[in-house]
């Protein structure tokens, strides 16, 4: 097969780095409002009918949204096998905690309404809260740790070894700050969704929470940037790297260096658009939620999420996972990808299917359009949960 040589290996790696960003943003935007709404469940909804309103706003769509996470996992496996191998095993207990929380979510949605017992329902409400809040927090914590580097190294057979990553070490101050950015960002986004899909007191409380979360998102994000500048070392490549070379992460030298995560922003000022978008999106969301322009508000929260995630990716490029104990083992866009052929095949499949997925997802959202109100819930009209 010669077809795949149409696109150079270097270009394919760059495209897949962009697609990695698209997938992460896709997950945070699509599943993000489910996670955010579930996190707010105990706070914006006080009685059973209100809680069912909240659950039914996301009920018909969360399953499809969650596939963004599954696809993210699968795509990292296919396009960046070393990243998949190192990060998922390196963050082992954190991943387990996320999985545990995510297991609670589908069953919580489905089983809560099956029995009329208040204790049963309250137990599932907390399960749903955990299923929303815990993954939101840990995903942010994970990003915080990726920025600082992870203590792993390869031996000559490319077997991966870890030098002490306990769950406790992952919860360092910078990572926790990133976790809080993530939670407030997704709560802001979920609040915008609830504002569109609900009415009355649920919508009022969602607006209030959303405004606080929007301000917090902007403030914590700026704080995170300052912390990164002052307190977190970046990484810099000190040898030649062939962007089209074989995926062998041991073929280069790397050093840790203060401020290295800001080099890309200095070299390419246009990249500053990402953090600007992150902050401006959150601040606009505050203004728009305040003005009850709910649909425009969710556009603002979406842009803010895209900006915040891109900020991290652009700061680190071409690093995707640095190593603290052996910086030379760090994973780069140029040495941690699949083969030329696999990247090409996966690109073709992605180009075919992503538009189809977007089309039918849009159709489903259109069919389910409209507010979920308490009257419908009481009369049990067309709501499964």
């Amino acid at each position: 097969m010669i077809l795949h040589e149409l696109i150079s290996y270097e270009a394919l790696r760059l495209i897949w780095w962009l697609l990695l960003g698209v997938l992460l943003i896709g997950f945070a935007v699509m599943d993000g409002f489910d996670l955010g709404a579930a996190t707010m469940l105990p706070f914006v909804a006080k009685d059973d009918v209100e809680r069912r309103v909240v659950i039914n706003t996301i009920g018909p769509v969360w399953e499809g949204n969650q596939v963004w996470l599954i696809l993210g996992g699968g795509a990292i496996f296919a396009a960046w096998p070393p990243l998949y191998a190192v990060s998922f095993s390196g963050f082992y207990l954190a991943m387990f905690t996320i999985l545990f929380a995510l297991i609670l979510r589908p069953v919580g949605f489905k089983y809560r309404s099956k029995l009329d017992d208040p204790r049963w329902r309250s137990a599932w409400d907390w399960a749903l809260f955990i299923g929303g809040a815990v993954p939101s927090l840990i995903f942010g914590v994970a990003v915080g740790n990726v920025l600082q580097g992870v203590p792993f190294h390869f031996n000559n057979d490319l077997r991966i070894f870890y030098d002490g990553t306990t769950l406790f070490e992952l919860l360092n101050p910078f990572a926790l700050l990133c976790g809080l950015v993530s939670v407030s960002m997704l709560v802001m986004h979920g609040a915008a969704w609830l504002s569109i899909k609900s009415e009355g007191s649920v919508a009022d409380r969602a607006h209030a929470w959303g405004k606080i979360a929007a301000l917090l998102t902007a403030a914590l994000f700026v704080l995170g940037g300052i912390y990164l500048w002052l307190g977190v070392d970046g990484y810099r490549i000190t040898s030649d790297v062939d962007p089209a070379g074989p995926s062998n992460p041991l073929g280069k030298t790397v050093v840790m260096e203060a401020g290295a995560w800001f080099h890309n922003y200095a070299a390419y000022p246009l990249t500053m658009l990402a953090p600007v978008l992150g902050i401006a999106g959150a601040l606009s969301a505050y203004v728009l939620l305040n003005a009850r322009r709910d649909i425009t508000a969710i556009l603002a929260t979406t842009l803010s999420i895209a900006g915040i995630i891109s900020t991290v990716g652009l700061a680190m490029f071409p690093f995707i996972l640095p190593s603290t104990v052996d910086p030379n083992s760090s994973l780069l866009v140029w040495d941690a990808s699949s083969s030329h052929l696999t990247l090409f095949i996966m690109l073709v499949v992605t180009i075919i299917f992503i538009p189809i997925i977007i089309a039918y997802t849009a159709w489903v959202f259109r069919v389910m359009w409209g507010k979920v109100n308490e009257k419908d819930i009481r009369e049990d009209r067309g709501h499964a949960y």
Binding site: I70, M95, I103, R105, V107, L341, V367
Partner: protein, 525 residues
């Protein structure tokens, strides 16, 4: 088996996979059965079929969510517990997994929301499309995961790259059209259809026995028996195809399943029952049918099937050749520049590269396979024999159940055609009691396929013991216990909700449609 990191990781994977596979077969089959029922509703307009769709849909939903919840774990576990595996074969194995997400999971998960929430918002045809999308999505996901699994059994279309220390894809179409994967797909999907058919048949039989919801029960039984008969036949025929391919690609698995220690003159006899003895390397109390195995497994009178002892001798040769390949890889990797690699190393890798995995079997005994003694090689060669007794019996029970399902479905198909479904109460009892059997058959099938491949995670390419992550045993023990705990709780809740929903029966459906739906949304009838 001591509980080291390898054993614990295997236990955790087996536990989560077997548990996940309690829900998958029913999802596969019930989604199609529901889509068939709804199709009848849309074509005839008779509301009993709508009621059936909704009732079985409720049970489908209770089952589906646990399948979704446990499926997330599956997707992430490769990286968590099997990081060397992920790195070593991700270039090939990751692709079908990602395509599964793109092509199947999105379809299934996006439309399942419409299936439950869309009754009042869609036209009849619109809703039917959503239902079929769920069914097609679930079945496509089985296709892609079995392409991935088929490659683990028969790793085609790939080669080892010493520069990246991993297997890389050379021909994607070979991976896609891997005959093992295709046979496995049809076998597994048919098994799912049988599972759902037995489930629908058994639950309906219980209603009929208790003279409840008889209209719904009889119609459901007719659908289940006809669909189930075709599927049960297909599961056995395609199972046979799977076995035939095993003869070709996984000779050791076949020999172990059949407890065949010595090579026999063709056509070999089939051991119907017996007690395999791993220590003595023989089968006690064997009841044998002359010729049968040779005919089934090779479809010829003259092809010989190698026995375990002969295959172990083959393994010894391959281990020695693997050591040469391993040596070549080390030379290539330690060379300062690509041009400094001796030509002989490239030639050795070219010649013996397919046996590299056999050298890795030695890693259990020596760090550097090149320093292995003859005794080490002997031990490693015997490691290629999976534990025979459980394979031998699991396989026989699975096959026996397969034939039982054909008989069960044929009986009810006949009764349904004669309109005498309720004439034999003991048969209704039998159908209800049979409900758990397809799950037993499916789990045993998984066991034969996966345990029978041991000690390999990728047949002949990577030993399972080499594939694990470098985690602490305690860490994996904690997560194993955590998964067991949450899965047990979920299982109890799931079963009790299922039983509750079955006891409650279908929701009454006597309201005219126009009252339920705003007139603007009512489809023309």
């Amino acid at each position: 088996m001591e509980l080291d990191i390898v054993a614990l990781s295997r236990l955790q994977f087996a536990m989560t996979a077997l548990y996940h596979f309690l829900f998958v077969p029913l999802t596969l089959g019930l989604s199609v059965l529901i889509a068939i029922m709804e199709t009848v509703y849309v074509m005839t307009g008779r509301r009993i079929w709508r009621q059936m769709t909704k009732f079985w849909g409720t049970l489908f939903g209770i089952n589906f969510v646990v399948g979704v919840a446990t499926g997330i774990v599956m997707e992430f576990q490769f990286g968590m517990n099997w990081s060397y595996y992920s790195l070593y074969v991700g270039d090939i194995f990751g692709a079908p997994l990602a395509i599964e997400g793109l092509m199947a999971f999105f379809l299934e998960a996006t439309f399942v929301g419409l299936f439950f929430f869309g009754w009042d918002r869609l036209s009849k045809v619109g809703h039917l499309i959503a239902t079929w999308a769920v069914a097609i999505g679930s079945n496509l996901s089985a296709l892609w995961i079995l392409i991935a699994n088929g490659w683990m059994q028969n790793p085609v279309g790939s080669a080892f790259n010493p520069q990246t220390m991993r297997m890389e894809v050379t021909d994607f179409f070979e991976v896609l059209f891997n005959p093992v994967a295709q046979a496995k797909f049809v076998h597994t999907v048919s098994a799912g259809y049988v599972t759902a058919s037995v489930f629908v048949l058994g639950v309906s039989a219980w209603y009929l026995y208790n003279k409840r919801h008889t209209d719904l029960a009889k119609r459901s039984m007719t659908v289940a028996a006809s669909f189930g008969l075709a599927s049960a036949l297909s599961v056995v025929v395609l199972g046979d195809e799977s076995g035939y391919l095993t003869t070709e690609h996984q000779k050791m698995k076949l020999a172990a399943m059949e407890s065949m220690w010595e090579t026999e003159p063709a056509p070999a006899a089939f051991t119907l029952i017996g007690f395999p003895d791993q220590e003595a390397r023989e089968t006690h109390f064997a009841v044998r049918i002359p010729w049968a195995l040779g005919l089934i497994a090779t479809r010829s009178l003259t092809t010989q099937i190698p026995g375990i002892n002969e295959l172990v001798d083959h393994a010894k040769v391959r281990i020695r050749e693997g050591i040469s390949a391993y040596d070549a890889v080390q030379q290539i990797r330690s060379a300062s520049t690509p041009s400094a690699v001796p030509q002989a190393a490239h030639e050795a890798l070219e010649k013996y590269g397919n046996d590299l995995g056999y050298a890795l079997l030695l890693k259990r005994y020596v760090d550097d396979p090149r320093k292995a003694t003859d005794a080490d090689i002997d031990k490693a060669a015997w490691d290629t024999v999976p534990y025979v007794l459980p394979l031998f019996w699991s396989f026989r029970i699975m096959v026996g159940l397969g034939f039982f399902f054909i008989a069960l479905m044929a009986t009810f198909f006949y009764l349904s055609a004669r309109r005498t479904l309720d004439h034999y109460p003991w048969l209704l009892r039998l159908a209800t009691i049979a409900i758990p059997l397809p799950w037993i058959a499916a789990e045993l099938g998984w066991f034969v396929a996966e345990f029978g491949r041991q000690p390999w995670i990728i047949e002949g390419v990577l030993p399972t013991a080499a594939a694990v992550s470098s985690l602490g045993a305690t860490t994996v023990l904690i997560t194993l216990l955590g998964f067991v705990a949450i899965y047990t709780v979920l299982f109890i809740i799931e079963i009790s909700l299922m039983v509750r929903a079955i006891k409650a029966g279908p929701a009454p459906d006597d309201a005219p449609e126009a009252e339920l739906i705003p007139s603007s949304l009512v489809a023309a009838e």
